[in-house]
């Protein structure tokens, strides 16, 4: 006995011809799907772009990971070594008493123009000076505002001058330094110069009166018993700031951090992620339901044609496949159209003035990656198949006798 026809070429041919015959309706379904899916893809892109941008801004700004003690205190080398050894600390550099950090700089090319700047110690791996040339004993990095004020450029030579005593008995320590680079504005907001720790110690000890005006760096020898007035530390990750801040305060060390801002930004990140997940989840559910309902209605409308096919001898499986194939074609077309629309809208959104507002760098607000498109395609095809199976089971139950009766 011959088997009932379930031959794929015939079913594919019939379902596609039906789709083409009703191309206006099929197009409406495709546009309807795209209209629901495109905003979801854009939403995904926005979530991705904004959250990642926000996060990257915080991480990019080294000052958000900075931990600085508040008042001048006494910290020994052992304490600094312990701090540096913490796994959540990326960088530690000592600070000296703030009274002694002021120096005067003179541009030899323009004698008489002297400006004051704050001296800051730095060392290899300083997160404030990423991508800057190394600081050595006579090569320094100047802050952006200081460079602008003195009209400095890399390679220029300056005279560093530290003063002590009153007007009657003034002594000057003079030290020529070369500008190695200019720090980004985010590194230090005021007039400042990043110098080698030994140079800073030389200035410190001269100002305190421990060294004569003729002293050189040779007078700064290693001393394990040396005491510092403070430190500047940077945590590895943004989240670490909160813990380091808490731990130091528990040990009675007053610190200045952006712990609160970090905490609220991390909270915002979590809330936004949840909000986006909810919107995308609800939107996605609505999308799947609209997809399923549309396909189901389609089956009901074609009930008579389907029962005729059944009467003529198409198998139950063929009848299930008929709407499934149409659903997949409509779903795929809708998802592709939605992707095209979403990518176009994302391009437009990223050209809006608000795009530059989120970050120092011109970062895109809406970032749609291939994975989002693939995800949309996968969800759509899955949803289309799922709803088509429901619709198909209904189609499969259509009795051949229905084809005999005229509606």
């Amino acid at each position: 006995m011959t088997k009932p026809s379930g031959s794929w070429p015939l079913i594919i041919d019939l379902s596609l011809r039906d789709l083409v015959h009703e191309k206006t309706l099929a197009l409406c379904s495709v546009i309807g799907l795209a209209a629901v899916l495109a905003p979801l893809i854009i939403l995904f892109g926005l979530k991705h772009g904004i959250i990642e941008g926000l996060r990257a801004d915080l991480i990019d700004n080294p000052r958000s990971r900075m931990v600085v003690n508040a008042a001048n205190r006494n910290f020994d080398e052992a304490f600094l070594a312990r701090l540096a050894a913490r796994p959540d600390i990326a960088f530690v550099i000592p600070r000296i008493r703030s009274l002694n950090t002021e120096a005067r700089f003179e541009n030899p090319a323009r004698p008489g123009s002297v400006l004051r700047a704050e001296l800051l110690a730095t060392g290899p791996g300083d997160p404030l000076l990423v991508n800057q040339p190394p600081v050595t004993e006579d090569r320094v990095i100047v802050s952006a505002s200081f460079a602008a004020r003195l009209n400095l450029a890399p390679g220029m030579v300056l005279n560093l001058r530290a003063l002590r005593g009153d007007a009657s008995a003034r002594e000057v320590l003079s030290f020529p330094v070369t500008v190695a680079g200019i720090a980004p504005a985010s590194a230090f907001g005021r007039d400042g110069v990043f110098v080698d720790l030994r140079l800073l110690l030389l200035v410190d000890r001269f100002t305190d009166g421990a060294l004569p005006a003729q002293a050189t760096l040779r007078d700064i020898t290693p001393d394990p018993a040396r005491i510092y007035a403070g430190f500047r530390a940077h945590t590895r990750r943004l989240e670490d700031v909160i813990r380091v801040d808490h731990d130091l305060r528990r040990d009675g060390i007053e610190v200045e951090t952006q712990s609160e801002q970090v905490e609220s930004l991390l909270g915002l990140d979590r809330s936004l992620s949840l909000l986006f997940a909810l919107i995308a989840g609800l939107g996605g559910l609505g999308y799947l339901i609209s997809l399923g309902v549309g396909l189901f209605a389609n089956i009901e409308r074609k009930r008579r044609d389907l029962s005729l096919l059944r009467l003529i001898g198409l198998s139950r499986r063929a009848l299930v496949a008929f709407p499934l194939l149409q659903s997949l074609v409509i779903g795929l077309s809708g998802a592709l159209l939605a992707s095209a629309v979403a990518i176009a809208v994302a391009g437009f959104v990223n050209r809006l003035p608000l795009a530059s507002a989120t970050g120092a760098a011109a970062r895109s607000v809406c970032v749609i990656e291939e994975i989002h498109i693939l995800l949309a395609l996968a969800v759509t095809l899955f949803g289309a198949a799922l709803s088509a199976i429901f619709a198909g089971v209904r189609a499969g139950r259509i009795l051949p006798a229905e084809g005999l009766r005229d509606a």
Binding site: P4, L14, D18, G313, S315, P400, L404
Partner: protein, 251 residues
Amino acid sequence: MHQPQPTLLLRDVMVSHAVAGGGSGFELLIEHLALCRGEAVALVGPSGSGKSTLLDLLALARQPTKAGQFRLLTRSAEEIDLAALWLNRADDELTATRAAHFGYVLQQGGLLPFLSVRRNIALSQAVLGRPDPAHVEALAERLDIAELLDRMPGTLSVGQRQRVAIARALAHRPEILLADEPTASVHPALADLVLSLLIEQAREQDTALLLATHDPDRAARQGFEILPLVTEIGRGGGRSRLNRPAQADAP
């Protein structure tokens, strides 16, 4: 004289409509029905007499409640025990039998709107995987619809659609041709033509033809043998009986 074996044979087949709540139901009892190739029988009876039920049963679209004997004998002498297929709920085999051996002409043609006339006619061949374009052309020629082959059904008149439906019903050379009120929605003048084409083509293709109609006079005029369905109203509801042995056995 050679006694033809009936193509379709039913003995003691019953279909009953149970009515929920034990109200009056309906029962169709076929004591004996034999149908041979080349015969043209018109089933007549008022609405509710069971014409549709009988047609559904013969179209293998309704399960008999009880079937003593229900079988199909094909030209190639293959015997198909339809009663057993129903008993085993062999849906695939029933579908295959329907596809291979039955043709249907419906009230309004029952053409698929998304296929051209040619593809509609060839559909019954395509389902069987036995394309025969020459036969499609020949049928179209005989039914005077050769110029319409590449049109879509939506552009045809009701009469033209019925001719296409007749061509499709015969395209795969079925054993049995079932026609359900094929003239109900055509102009009376056209109705005679549709019936005459139906009977002429069924004879030409050596197919048994069973027609359900409200119009016994017209069917008789075109050469159909009239088979009335008589309904008795009893205690349990209505009951229609049918008894038509093969013509050779008739007293």
